[in-house]
Symmetry: D2
Subunit: 431 residues, 4 copies
C-alpha cells in the first residue's frame, strides 16, 4: 500500500463535546441501563471469576462513584445508603474498606430493584446539581471523569456477562443470534503501512477535551521507522498458527507465556470450542462456526506475542500505534453497531480497523509518561497504581461505547487476560 509519510507527527486534538453535560450525563446513564435490560436479576448477580464483576455491581458501583467523588461533601448532600460503600467501592483505599473483589457475587442484597432505585436517586441529585449549575468548578471535571468511567464499565458489563453466561454449561446467549452470515465478507490480503522515523507527539494535552491522567502529559518521543499491518490478524490466520504447532513450540513464546499457557491448558483463544473436528466460537449472540475472515479475539498478550513471532513479525509499540492512528477516523465496529463481535475488515482500503472490533495488544508495558502526575485526591488511584505488570492495548473494541476512544487512549490488562475483546495487529522493523 502507499507509503505513509512522517509528516503526520501531530495528532489531532480531541474535540470538546458539543453536547450539554446534563444531557450527556443522562444519555450515558441510560446507556448503562439498556445494556442490563436483556438480563434477569439472577443473570446480573453472577460473578464467574475474580476479575469479572456482576452486572448489578457495575450498576451500583458507577453510581457510588458519582455519589462519592461528585456529590459527597456538598452542602445538603447526605448519602442515602452509607453502607453501600462497603459493597460498591472497587479499589479506592483512600475511601475506606470494602468487600473482597472475588466476593461481589454474594451480594444478593440490596436487590437489583434496590440498586435501580439507588441509581435513580443519584441521578435525580446529579440532574438537580447539573441543571442548577450548583456544582463547584472542580467537580465538573469529576463529572467528566465519572462519565468516562461509566463508559468503561459499560464495556465491562458486556465482557463480564459474556464470561458469566459462558460459564453456564447450557451456553445461553446475551442477545438473539444475529442475522449476518458467516463468511459474507472476505478479509483483504495482508498489507503494511510504512512510517518514517520521527519525533512524534504522544499523549493528550490537558484542557483539550477529556483525557485520563495516564494519557498525559503530551510529550515528544523519537519513534524509529516502522511498518504496521493494514488490518487486524484474522481467525483464519490464527488457525494457521494453531495448525503449525503454535501451542507446542516453546521457541515461539515468552518464558512467562509458555508457563501460563501450559498451566492454564490453553490450546485456542478463549470461547473457541472444538466440536467434531470443527471450531466454533461462543459470542454474545450464542455459538456459531468460526468466521475465518473476522479478527481473532480473546487472546492473551502471550498468545498475541507468540503469533507475531511465528508470523516473523512483532507487536507494535504503543507509540507506533499512536503515530499510525493519529488523524484517522474511528472506523471499526464499536458497541453502537450492535454486532457485539468483531467484524471482517472492509476491502482494500489502507489502514483500517484502528478503532473498534478488537483491542490491540502492544509490546509496551504500561507505565507512566515522562512527567506523569496522578489526579489529585482519591480519584488519583484510578490509573497510576496499576502501572506495573500490565500491557497496553490500543484502539477499542466492539464492546466499547461510541465516542469513548481516541488515538491517545491507553487501555491496559495483565498479559494473561483473555476475557476482554483483545486481538492483535502486526508490526515490523524496516529492514
Amino acid at each position: 500500500m502507499s507509503h505513509a509519510t512522517g509528516a503526520h507527527v501531530h495528532t489531532r486534538e480531541p474535540e470538546p463535546s458539543a453536547e450539554p453535560l446534563e444531557t450527556r450525563y443522562m444519555r450515558v446513564r441510560r446507556g448503562t441501563e439498556s445494556l442490563a435490560r436483556p438480563l434477569s436479576p439472577e443473570d446480573q448477580l453472577v460473578q464467574s471469576m475474580p476479575d469479572a464483576s456482576p452486572v448489578k455491581w457495575h450498576l451500583a458501583h458507577t453510581s457510588w462513584f458519582f455519589e462519592t467523588f461528585v456529590l459527597a461533601g456538598l452542602a445538603g448532600e447526605r448519602s442515602p445508603r452509607a453502607d453501600y460503600a462497603l459493597l460498591f467501592n472497587s479499589y479506592y483505599d483512600g475511601v475506606g474498606p470494602r468487600i473482597a473483589r472475588d466476593r461481589r457475587g454474594v451480594v444478593s442484597r440490596p436487590s437489583l430493584e434496590e440498586v435501580r432505585h439507588y441509581r435513580r436517586e443519584i441521578d435525580e441529585r446529579m440532574a438537580a446539581r447539573l441543571a442548577s449549575g450548583r456544582l463547584p468548578a472542580d467537580r465538573i471535571g469529576l463529572v467528566e471523569l465519572g462519565l468516562a468511567h461509566e463508559e468503561q464499565h459499560q464495556e465491562l458489563i458486556l465482557t463480564d456477562v459474556k464470561h458469566a453466561l459462558h460459564a453456564n454449561p447450557l451456553l445461553p446467549g446475551y442477545r438473539e443470534p444475529a442475522a449476518a452470515e458467516v463468511g459474507a465478507a472476505a478479509a483483504p490480503p495482508l498489507e503494511w503501512a510504512c512510517f518514517d522515523e520521527q519525533i512524534a507527539w504522544i499523549g493528550c494535552a490537558a484542557g483539550k477535551g477529556f483525557s485520563f491522567d495516564n494519557e498525559r502529559p503530551r510529550h515528544r518521543a523519537l519513534v524509529p521507522a516502522f511498518q504496521i499491518a493494514a488490518r487486524l490478524v484474522t481467525a483464519g490466520e490464527y488457525l494457521g498458527f494453531m495448525a503449525d504447532g503454535g501451542y507446542q513450540r516453546p521457541e515461539l513464546w515468552l518464558s512467562d507465556g509458555w508457563a501460563a499457557m501450559r498451566a492454564s491448558g490453553w490450546r485456542a483463544p478463549l470461547y473457541w470450542h472444538e466440536r467434531e473436528g470443527a471450531w466454533q466460537v461462543y459470542t454474545l449472540r450464542g455459538t456459531r462456526p468460526i468466521d475465518r475472515d473476522a479478527p481473532v479475539c480473546h487472546v492473551s498478550h502471550y498468545e498475541a506475542d507468540a503469533f507475531a513471532r511465528w508470523a516473523r513479525a512483532r507487536l507494535p509499540t504503543e507509540f507506533e500505534w499512536e503515530v499510525a492512528a493519529a488523524h484517522r477516523a474511528v472506523d471499526g465496529a464499536l458497541a453502537d453497531s450492535d454486532a457485539l463481535h468483531p467484524q471482517p475488515a472492509p476491502g482494500p482500503a489502507g489502514l483500517v480497523q484502528m478503532f473498534g472490533d478488537c483491542w490491540e495488544w502492544t509490546q509496551s508495558a504500561y507505565g507512566p509518561y515522562p512527567g506523569f502526575q496522578p489526579e489529585a485526591g482519591a480519584v488519583g488511584e484510578y490509573n497510576g497504581k496499576f502501572m506495573s505488570g500490565q500491557m497496553v492495548l490500543r484502539g477499542g473494541s466492539c464492546a466499547t461505547p461510541a465516542g469513548h476512544v481516541r488515538s491517545t487512549y491507553r487501555n491496559f490488562f495483565p498479559p494473561a487476560a483473555r476475557w476482554q475483546f483483545s486481538g492483535l495487529r502486526l508490526a515490523r522493523d524496516v529492514p
Copy 2:
C-alpha cells in the same frame, strides 16, 4: 443423676410411617418450597463457598433425583429437560458429567421460575405414579430414599443460606428476629449419665422403617462402660475455654486441628463476632448477643476435640452415643420449632438434647459397619464413597426436619467443617 443400666442394649426399631406415601411426598416437597419462600431469586443463586450450594440448586437437584432414580426408564416417561442433568447432578458418576461443584452459583439460567416449573412438572408425574400405583416395587424404596434425601437438602438449604447471607457485609437475616429473650432460660449444671459395659445392638435392621445404607447392617458391638454428659456444651463453657487460652495452647489440639485452626485464623466458633469487647452471634434471625446458656454451635470437630481435652473429658464414640440415645424421645429443637438456633437445655431432667439443637461430633471416623453393602445401582454412590476422611455426627439440629432423625442415624462431615449446626456433648471413661 441416676445410673443408667446396661439393660438398654436393644434400641427400639423405628416405626413404619402411617402417612400414605403420596401424602408424605407432597408434604415434604411443599416443605422444601416453604423454606425458600423468604428468599428472593437473587438470594437463591448465591454460592458462598464450594461446600455450600445455592438454594435454587437444592430445589432443582432434589427434583432431578426423583426424575433420575424413580421416573427415568419407566414407560412413557421422558425427561422434560435432559440438559438439566449437567447442572443438577451432584456427584453421581454413574449418571454422567456435571458442572463443577464450586460453579453452581453461575447458573442464572434456568431461572428460579423455570426451576419451580420443573419441580411442579416432576411433582405432577410423581403424583400420577403414586396415585395410580403404577410404580414398580423396587422404585417405592427409591421414593423413600428420595424423601429422606430431600429432607437432608432441607437442612442444607438453611445451613447454606446462612453462610451465604453472612458472606454479605450487611449481614441480612433470613427471617425476622425472634421475640425470645437471651438469658431467659438457664442451662442446668453439668451432670453425667453412666452406662455399664455391654454388647449393644448398633445400627438399623433392613425392613424396619426407612434407614440409609450406612446405618446397616444392624450388628452387635462390645461397648465398654462410659459416662456421657446429660446436656450439650454451652456457649458460656466455650467462652471459658477461649478465656483460658484454648486457641493458643497446642497441647489441647490434634496436630491436624492445630494446623487447620492456625491456617484459617479461627479464634472463636463460626458466626461469632467480637464487637467492642462483647461477643455476638449471627443467626438466621440476625445478629444478637451470645446466650451463655445456649449450646455452642458451628464448631469444627477439631475445636470440639480440643474443648473436650481442655475439659478433661473426650468426645463420645458413635456407639456410646447410640447406646445412650436408644429409646429416648426426640426432645430438642428441630426445624419445626422455628427457633432456627439451638436452645438452652431444660432444667434438671436427666439426659436431654440428644436430638435437635446441634449435631454432636463424635470421636468416630466415618466408616462401614461390618458387612456393609451400598445400595444397588447409581444410588449406591450415596454414602459409601464418602467413608474416608470424615467424622460421624449424631442427633440432629435445629435445622433438621422433624421426623428425619433416629438413634441410628449417622451424619458425617470433614473435621474442619463449621457451617453445619455442629456442637458437642462430653463423654468420659469410667475410672
Copy 3:
C-alpha cells in the same frame, strides 16, 4: 486352606527382651549409622518432599530425642549444643520452636561430621548413665521409647533416601543391585484363612514388654466372623487391576481417593515406570523389571481400597488383622534380610507374610483405644495428636528393623501417602 478357629482369642504377650539395655542401646545406635554408611554427606542432606527428611536430620533428631527426654535435667547434664533443638526437634510443641518441617534440607550446618560428633557425645553420656545405673527409674522407660523411636527412624531413613535418590533423574541406587533373579519364585494362588466371630483381646497390656501408648490399653472387642487372604496382593494382580481400567473407573474409588488420584496424576504405584511398553520398578538397589510374583508396594490407601473393591473384597479392619496375626511367628522379609524390597510369598503354607515385606493398609481410621492415655509429659505428643485423618497399617515391611514389630503394633499414615513400603492383603465377609 484349613479353617482357623475362634479359639485363638488371646494373643501371645510379647516377651521382655533378654538383652541388657546398654548393649541394646549401642546395637540400635550402631544400626542407624550403618544404614547411613553407603551415603555421602551430600546424599544425607537431600529432602525431596516435606514428609521425608534428610538422613542427617534423622541421625541428629534421634540423638536430640535421647538428650531431651532422657538426659536433660539430670544433675551434671548440660546440652552440648542447645541451639540444635531449633533444628532437630520434630514436632514437640512442649519443647519449643523449631525449623519448618519442609526446610530441613537447608541445614548444611552443622555438617554431617559435626552431627556424627554430636551422636558420639550423646552416646558417651548415655553409656555412662546406663553403665552406672545412674538413671532414674522413670527414665528407663524413656530409653526404651527412644530405642523404639530410633528404630522407626531407621525405617524412615530407608524410605526417605529412596524417595530422595529417585527424585534425581539419574536414578542412582542406594545399594548395589541384588543377585536375585526376578521370577525365581512364584507366588502361591490366593487362599483365604477363616475366623469365627469372637470376643478378642486387642492391644498390648502395660508392663508386658515395650509397647507404644497407642497400643494400649489392652481391651476386648467383638470381631465378627471374617476371611483374610493368606498372602499379600501381588504386582501381577495389581497389573490386572490396571489393565481392567482400575485408574479410570470412579465406581471403584472412594470420593477423596478419586480426587487425589486425578490431582496427582497417579496411574500406577509409586516408583513404577513404563519404558517401551514394559513396567519397571525403582528399588533401593536400582531399577529392574516388575516381578509379578512379588507383593505390590508403594500404593496409597486409596489405591489399596480401590483394588480391593475391584477384587470384590475389602481391606481388613485392624482388629481382624490382629486376630489373624496373633501367635504367628514373624516370617516375612524385614530390614535384616537385606532384600530391601518385598519378596514373593513362599509356596502353599497357610497364612504368610503377616510381618515384613509390606505394611498392610487396613480399613481402620487411626484413633484411640477405649481408655487411651497418652504418655505423660512432652513425649505424650508422640502418637495421640496424630489420631485424625490417618489410616492404620499393620505388619511391618522390608525396611523395618528386626525385632521392632509385633501383632499389636499400629503404624499410621495419611491415606494418600505412597512413599512407605505399603501394600495390602484382602479380606472379606463370611457370606
Copy 4:
C-alpha cells in the same frame, strides 16, 4: 551539585579486552571456583527457594554451557557425561528436557567432587581448543558469551548462598566477619545531578567489545530533562520511610506491590531482623547492626517504588540512568573489593556509586530495544524470552565481578525479587 550538561550524549564504547582469551578463560573459571572454596559439599547442595540454585549446580551448569554451545559438534568432541544435560541445562528448550528448576537441590549425585572433575575436563578441552586456535570463528563469540554468562553465575553464587545460609536458623556466615566498623563513614547529604533534554545514544553497538543481545542495537532516544540523585538511598533514609508508616500506607504503593507486600508479610528489607528494638542485618559475613550510612539493599522493585513516592521523587528510567552513567568510571564496591556488602558513599564528590554496591531498580519494564534480534541458535533463549513481567536494574553490585558491567548493561528481575543486592537511586522531573 554542578549542572551536568546534555553534551554527554554519546557514551564511551567499551574497550576490547587486552587479555588473551585463553588467559581470561582460565581466570574467570578459577574465579568461580574460588567463590565456592569457603563452602562444604553440603553447603553447595542447598537450594533454599526455586529462584536460587545450589552452588554445585552453578559450577556444573556453567561448564555444561561451554560444552554445549562451544564444544559440542566439533570434530573429536564427545560429551564425557551426556546425562548431565538433564541436570544442568537451565532453561534452553532448544537443547532438550531437564530437571524442574525447584528440584536442583535433590541432585546429590554427581557429587561435588565429580562436578569438579567435570569442570576440569571441560577446561582441559577448552584450553586445548583455545591454545591451538582450533576454534571456528563463530564459536569465539560463544566463548565470550560463556565467560560473561559465568560471571553472572559468579554473582548468583553469592546471592544464592546468602539466601541458603540465611535459611538456616543458626545464621552461619559465608565468610569471617569484616574488621570494618559500622558508622565509620558518613553518607554525604542528598544532592541531585541535572541533565538537559537530549537525543541520547542508548545501548551498545555490535562489534565494540562484548555485549549481550539485549543491549543492542545501539539506537537513539529522546530523553527529557531530569535530575538524578548523586548517591544511593541509605539504610537510614529507609528507616525513616519505615518509621513514617511506609509499610502501612497503601497510597504509597503500586497495587501489585501492596498485594505482594501484604501476602509476603514484608515489613523491612530482606535480611533485616529486629532484635530487642534494634535493627540488624544478615550479611555474607554474618549478622551486624544496621549501618545507617550504607545503601539500603535487598528491597523489591515495589518497595523501591514506594520509597521513592514517599520521598516525593521517582525511580529513574533506564535511559536516564544510562545517560547519567555514560563516561563515568566504575567507582563503587564490586566483588573484588571483598566487602560483600554495599558501602557508604564517599564524601561530597558528585555522582557516585553508579556502579557496584547495589543494583539500582529503574521504572523501566524490561523489553526489547527497537530492532532487537536475539542471538542465533539456542543461545537466543538467553535474554529475549524473559522480556515480560520483569524490571530493569542498572549498575552492578558488591557481588558483581569486576569488569562485568558497563553503562549499557541491563540486568532484570521480577518486581517482587529481593534476594539480589538490589537498592535504589532517586530521580525527579525538572519542574
